[in-house]
């Protein structure tokens, strides 16, 4: 996983819970905390940090991830405003993930592994988003979507119709934006 994710996680934790909590999480996860945006680190580090946060904050790991995703989004918007300003609202932003945003992310962070979503319009204006990844980070996607909606000053509801965590072969989310 790219170092930037750890950096943003640190920022979010520090902003909401203080530096000491971040230090504790590192200790609990057995990490030395040396993460730079130029490097890549084992996914396992993230899993252990999420576990530590879950224990410390008394939240299920999926909720931690989703919360982190939502909180991370404004920070990404601050760092990479051009990814956001090119779109007027949440929906086109989400639809541009595969074709524009993720390719750009790969340019920024060589070797970044970004998921590929599939999209399907649903009657009534909802968007079905399919996700399949060995990382099973559907909660992160969920949080990112909510965070994007926050950026566009909208509200996104995301419903997990199917989930790899529940034994389904892939995740399927229904996004409804208000």
């Amino acid at each position: 996983m790219k170092g930037i994710v750890f950096n943003v996680l640190e920022e979010v934790i520090v902003a909401h819970h203080g530096e000491a909590v971040w230090d504790d999480l590192l200790d609990a996860a057995g990490s030395n905390g040396v993460y730079t945006s130029l490097g890549s680190y084992p996914d396992d580090h993230m899993t252990r940090l999420v576990k530590a946060a879950s224990d410390a904050l008394g939240m299920p790991p999926a909720d931690v991830v989703r919360w982190f995703g939502r909180q991370a989004m404004p920070r990404f918007a601050e760092r990479y405003p051009e990814f956001f300003t090119a779109y007027a609202s949440t929906r086109p932003f989400v639809l541009a993930l595969n074709t524009i945003i993720h390719p750009e992310v790969r340019k920024l962070y060589t070797g970044a592994i970004c998921p590929n979503f599939d999209f399907e319009d649903e009657e009534g204006g909802a968007l079905l988003i399919g996700y399949r990844s060995p990382r099973k980070l559907c909660a992160l996607a969920h949080g990112f979507i909510e965070g994007a909606a926050d950026y566009y000053q909208q509200h996104a509801e995301v419903e997990h119709l199917a989930c790899m965590h529940r034994g389904d072969p892939r995740c399927l989310m229904r996004m409804t934006v208000h």
């Binding site: 909590v21 730079t36 090119a86 524009i100 920024l108 060589t110």
Partner: protein
């Protein structure tokens, strides 16, 4: 949660925090700088990869379309743009235009209406995005496409939500040969590094076109005659073979092959030079093309499709025409007549008027041919027949022609051998002064002494030698032999030193550029008095380039050689050249002499020719007097010399010497 560190005082703690903050900021700054560098590096790497991939494709791919399709897809992938398209540059008559190659990259079938609009229109140079790119040769980036006046497909672009466009030119050297254009629904500012990259992509893609062109040129060159641009033998045979394969399936399809050979071309080539010959061939090709372009050439009245033709140059002065979809051989004859007509007017070559004509052989599929070679061979044989029958005419092939041709071919082989083995001999016929009755000279006449002992007169081989060019070698041999014989005759008796020797010069020989030099060499070699040598030249050899003829005759005069005009009255009998050329002797053709006694008109002609010759200061020799009556008649009208059976038939050198001795010893004159 850890407790605050108690050992430090608050100031110290605040300082440490500030330091930490500084370190953190410094780290972020360092990361940002590095990220920017890595990003540039990555972008550059991707660009180079793109360029390399396209260069590789351009070098490896077999077809331009494949390369272009690959480049479209690769560039659209690279840019993450949904739409790309290629124009080719077509230049029909006049201005170049950009036309869709119907090569597209369209993600998810994007922008159908826009693509339809693109397919339907062509762009002139300077017109719209493709036209502007064509004219400038530089890549172009347009933003806000639907609102641009100079973007001609703006309404379709608006309909398809196209916002940004980009185009670049594919170039071979300075020439723009194609234009690529790409479209995006996003509003994107010009990408400088991409705009710097695209011209290089254009150059690589240009190589594919260049290679295609080189290939096309090789194929064309291998199948076409470089001088006239006409199909060559290989291509002609290929088309003929195709046609025959097709005709076997379709029994009612008739066709014919015309074999065209220019008459007297070798003389033009020899006398005016090969460059002039080439120019003549080029002009002839143009006229033949014109003759075939006439739409009514071979269209039969009931034809559903008009006949078509292939004109080819087999080499030298040989052309062929393949006529397809004809009704019967008479269609081919009609075309042959058109070809004849097309060549009737003189050609301007090097500022001179040159006349030529064609002998045309026709072979028709009606004779039932199995192979292309066979029909071509028979058309060729028919052409030879047309030549033999007097040139400037056509002949249809038949079996007898075939036999005649085989005989002729054998004769040619025999003659080559005969030259090598020196199977030729000279006979001499005395020329007698009708005034004194004394022998004035001899004419050397060539005979072919075949190995089996048969003696063949010139009529049996001269024409073939002339056609094949062998005559030039024979001519030099005859000249040398005759001059040697003349010396022996002159030295055989006292008072014979003034005897003249007449030698025939053929048209091909006369056209040799170094004729005078050849003659001078022989004269010096043999040591004969040039004034005693008479070159007999027929009228037909002298027609054509009058300036050249006059120049050659003057050269001969300078050497001291005298020139006779042979067989006068049978050819063109042009008074103008008699008048303007420095000729010494005129020989009246035997046909007038033999008809003289019982035909007043012939006598009158002889009289007229004689007075004409005398007025021009020429001596006259009457050919073929056979009896005393003719001789006395000739003498009575003032003819100086006679050469005929009355005096002697042509005899070998020994007999000629004996004849001369007898004539001198005899107190009586020969006439």
């Amino acid at each position: 949660m850890s407790e605050p560190i108690e050992c430090c005082d608050p100031d110290e703690l605040a300082r440490i925090k500030r330091r930490l903050e500084r370190e953190r900021a410094a780290r972020r700054e360092a990361e940002t700088v590095s990220e920017r560098g890595l990003r540039r590096l990555y972008a550059r790497e991707q660009e180079l990869l793109l360029l390399q991939d396209i260069a590789t494709a351009a070098n490896l791919s077999q077809s331009v379309r494949d390369v272009f399709q690959y480049a479209l897809t690769r560039i659209c992938d690279f840019l993450a743009w949904p739409l790309g398209h290629v124009y080719e540059v077509v230049s029909g008559d006049g201005e170049a235009r950009l036309r869709s190659m119907t090569l597209w990259y369209a993600r998810d079938d994007a922008a159908g209406a826009f693509r339809d609009a693109t397919k339907l229109r062509e762009f002139a140079p300077g017109e719209g995005l493709p036209g502007q790119t064509f004219t400038s040769g530089k890549p172009k980036w347009l933003t806000g496409v639907p609102d641009r006046e100079d973007f001609l497909r703006r309404s379709e672009a608006r309909e398809c939500r196209i916002s940004t466009a980009c185009a670049f030119a594919v170039q071979v050297g300075e020439e723009v040969v194609a234009v690529f254009e790409f479209f995006s629904e996003r509003a994107l500012q010009p990408n400088r590094s991409l705009l710097a990259l695209l011209p290089q992509v254009g150059i690589h893609l240009g190589r594919a076109i260049e290679r295609q062109r080189a290939e096309d040129r090789l194929i064309h060159d291998a199948s076409h005659d470089p001088l006239t641009g006409l199909p060559n033998r290989a291509l002609f045979l290929e088309r003929l073979n195709q046609l025959m394969a097709h005709a076997r399936r379709k029994a009612d399809a008739q066709f014919a092959v015309l074999f065209i050979d220019l008459d007297r071309f070798k003389i033009v080539n020899d006398s005016l030079g090969h460059l002039a010959g080439d120019r003549l061939i080029t002009q002839v090709a143009g006229r033949l093309r014109g003759a075939l372009r006439r739409e009514d050439v071979v269209t039969r009245p009931d034809a559903t499709t008009p006949g078509s033709s292939t004109l080819a140059r087999l080499g030298g002065d040989e052309f062929t025409i393949l006529l397809t979809d004809i009704h019967d051989p008479s269609d081919a004859v009609r075309v042959a007549n058109r070809v004849k007509d097309a060549l009737r007017q003189p050609f301007a070559v090097n500022g001179q008027e040159v006349y030529t004509s064609a002998s045309i052989g026709i072979a028709s599929s009606a004779s039932g041919y199995e192979s292309a070679d066979a029909i071509l061979r028979d058309a060729d044989l028919a052409m030879y027949r047309a030549k033999a029958l007097g040139k400037a005419r056509w002949e249809l092939f038949d079996r007898e022609m075939h036999q005649a041709a085989m005989t002729r071919l054998a004769l040619e082989t025999d003659l080559r051998r005969a030259l090598q083995n020196e199977e030729f001999v000279l006979h001499y016929q005395p020329i007698v002064s009708l005034r004194t009755g004394q022998v004035a000279g001899f004419e050397a006449l060539v005979r072919w002494q075949k190995p089996d002992g048969e003696l063949v007169p010139p009529g049996g081989f001269i024409e073939t030698m002339e056609d094949t060019g062998l005559i030039v070698f024979l001519g030099v041999w005859v000249l040398r032999e005759a001059c040697r014989a003349a010396r022996m005759l002159q030295e055989s008796l006292p008072g014979a030193q003034d005897l003249s020797i007449s030698v025939n010069v053929s048209p091909r020989q006369f056209a040799q550029p170094d004729l005078a030099a050849q003659i001078r060499t022989v004269i010096e070699e043999v040591g004969i008095d040039p004034h005693r040598l008479r070159l007999e030249i027929t009228e037909s050899a002298m027609i054509g380039d009058m300036d050249r003829v006059a120049a050659v005759l003057r050269e001969l005069k300078e050497i001291g050689v005298r020139v006779s005009i042979d067989d006068f009255g049978t050819g063109y009998s042009s008074l103008s050249y008699l008048h303007s050329l420095p000729l010494d002797v005129l020989k009246i053709d035997r046909s007038f002499v033999s008809a003289m006694a019982h035909n007043g008109e012939s006598l009158q002609i002889v009289r007229t020719i004689m007075s004409l010759a005398h007025n021009l200061g020429m001596d006259v020799i009457a050919e073929g007097p056979e009896d005393a009556e003719q001789v006395s008649q000739l003498r009575s009208i003032g003819c100086e010399y006679g050469q005929g059976f009355y005096f002697s038939k042509p005899i070998d050198l020994t007999a000629a010497m004996a004849f001369l001795a007898r004539a001198q010893n005899s107190s009586e004159a020969l006439c």
